[in-house]
């Protein structure tokens, strides 16, 4: 009796220690995983904050030697190309994802899935080169359109795969319920299934947009860059990332600092994007589960 009690005490004790060790390990892992992020934010803020003022958002770049100026054209350029990229990547990616999850349980579906996976592994610079030869050369012009198309193509696989996965985890019973109410299949998919999966899909879209916003290499071959103000999609256009690339390797300290500010602005832009998505996808109800 006494022996048994002691044994079970020992057992509980052991379990407690194991729990403690596992907990500490996972806390440690979590801390390690956010350390790089903290460094990135710390450096970008401390180096970029000095040039961060209203001028940076509304002024054009100044020639070398002249202090001040901003990157209004690059901010607008990045937004325009994200807009073009999104209006290609979101509909194409989502349609492909819907197709895969609802009708893709066949050979063709597997082929599409395979290509989406391959495409997501293709280096973005390769996408840039391809768009260069398919869009820039025929148009005889670097352009915002070409840049947007490159970003759109880069966004497609992420959006396709998240849409596919998120729709797949919508319970089958939900589909059956909708169908049993005499709701046609396509309406069930669009109004019930997609609505339920929307939060997860939106996260995928956000991820794709943020990654596209940070792309540099494909833009060098497509949008090129522009020292001047342009909102024409048929003309070369500036972007924050290409400015960061140019300014960071320039031999002028002032430009180097502005590169940090551009990086900071890019991070702020992406944060605002995340916030907007959080607000859009906020659930109307506080669901207790």
């Amino acid at each position: 009796m006494e022996n048994g009690a002691m044994k079970s005490n020992l057992y509980l004790y052991k379990k407690k220690i194991i729990n403690l060790i596992m907990l500490s390990l996972s806390v440690l892992a979590a801390v390690i995983s956010i350390i790089p992020l903290i460094f990135i934010i710390y450096y970008t803020v401390s180096k970029g904050i000095s040039h961060l003022n209203i001028d940076f958002f509304i002024e054009m770049p100044k020639p070398v030697g002249e202090p001040g100026g901003g990157m209004a054209n690059a901010i607008v350029g990045t937004l325009i190309m994200l807009g073009i990229g999104g209006s290609i990547g979101i509909p194409v990616g989502m349609s492909a994802g819907i197709y895969l999850s609802e009708f893709g349980k066949n050979k063709f579906g597997n082929v599409v899935r395979f290509f989406a996976d391959v495409l997501s592994g293709v280096p973005s610079i390769v996408v840039g080169v391809v768009v260069y030869s398919l869009v820039v050369i025929p148009m005889k012009q670097f352009s915002a359109l070409a840049g947007g198309i490159a970003l759109g193509i880069i966004m497609i696989p992420t959006i396709t795969r998240t849409t596919d996965e998120m729709i797949k985890i919508v319970p089958q019973s939900l589909r059956e319920t909708a169908l049993s109410l005499g709701i046609p299949k396509w309406k069930t998919t669009v109004s019930i299934v997609l609505k339920t999966a929307w939060k997860g899909i939106a996260t995928g879209i956000l991820l794709a947009l943020s990654r596209a916003a940070g792309e540099t290499a494909p833009l060098l071959f497509t949008a090129l860059g522009n020292r001047f103000w342009s909102t024409s999609i048929g003309q070369p256009i500036a972007s924050l990332t290409v400015y960061i690339y140019d300014y960071a390797k320039a031999p002028f300290e002032d430009w180097n600092n502005q590169a940090w500010t551009a990086a900071l602005v890019l991070i702020i832009l992406i944060s605002i994007l995340s916030l907007l998505f959080k607000i859009i996808t906020r659930s109307r109800y506080n669901i207790k589960q």
């Binding site: 019973s173 939900l174 589909r175 059956e176 319920t177 909708a178 169908l179 049993s180 109410l181 005499g182 709701i183 046609p184 309406k187 069930t188 109004s191 019930i192 609505k195 339920t196 929307w198 659930s283 109307r284 109800y285 669901i287 207790k288 589960q289």
Partner: protein
Amino acid sequence: MEIKIAVKNLNAFYGKNKVLKNVSIDIPQNKVLAIIGPSGCGKSTFLRCLNRMHEVVGGTVQGSIMLDGEDITRKDPVLVRRRLGMIFQKPNPFPTMSIFDNVAAGLKYNGKTDKKETAEIVEKSLKQAALWDEVKDSLEQSGINLSGGQQQRLCIARTLAIQPEVILMDEPASALDPISTTKIEDLIFELKKNYTIVIVTHNMQQASRVSDFTAFLYMGELIEYDATKKIFTSPELKQTEDYVRGRFG
């Protein structure tokens, strides 16, 4: 007594596996038919065949199912399902919708958009499902926060809103507590005045309480079909008697 649904020589298959064998049964109008039988005997499959939901899970059928003289196996499944509503075992309100929108879902997505008419139908359906008094002040809240029994009545209201003629229930109370179960049973009693009801249940007491007729299925075959009283007091076959007395299955 009018026949609402006449099932004739119904065979159902999942792939090559035959799970319903030559089932013929006349389902009377404005009555409650209980389907009983051991697990896996084909009760849910039978129910699903009646509103073409078997197709959704990969089933196929042979034979005919006449609803008011029309063979529903040859009609558009979407239209069939609007005439034969279905209640599932687990309450399943749409999680992203309010209570109101849940009840209105069938109307909305079937193209009925008149706001005033929709509101009227929603109120009427919730009243019919005996849920109105409990939710009338929280129609804009999520349906997920209701209790299991309330959720099931919400699902019944949602089905009633599409104004079906027949209601198919697959173990509608088996996931509920006794009080909620009683409420659902009372509801079935009320609903049969206006609807034809087919209910699958594992609970013999429930079958004898709520139904007018009972069909006993065993391994895909209809063994006995008669007035509920007869089935539970003096069935023709020993097999039926053993099952309703709980001696097997």
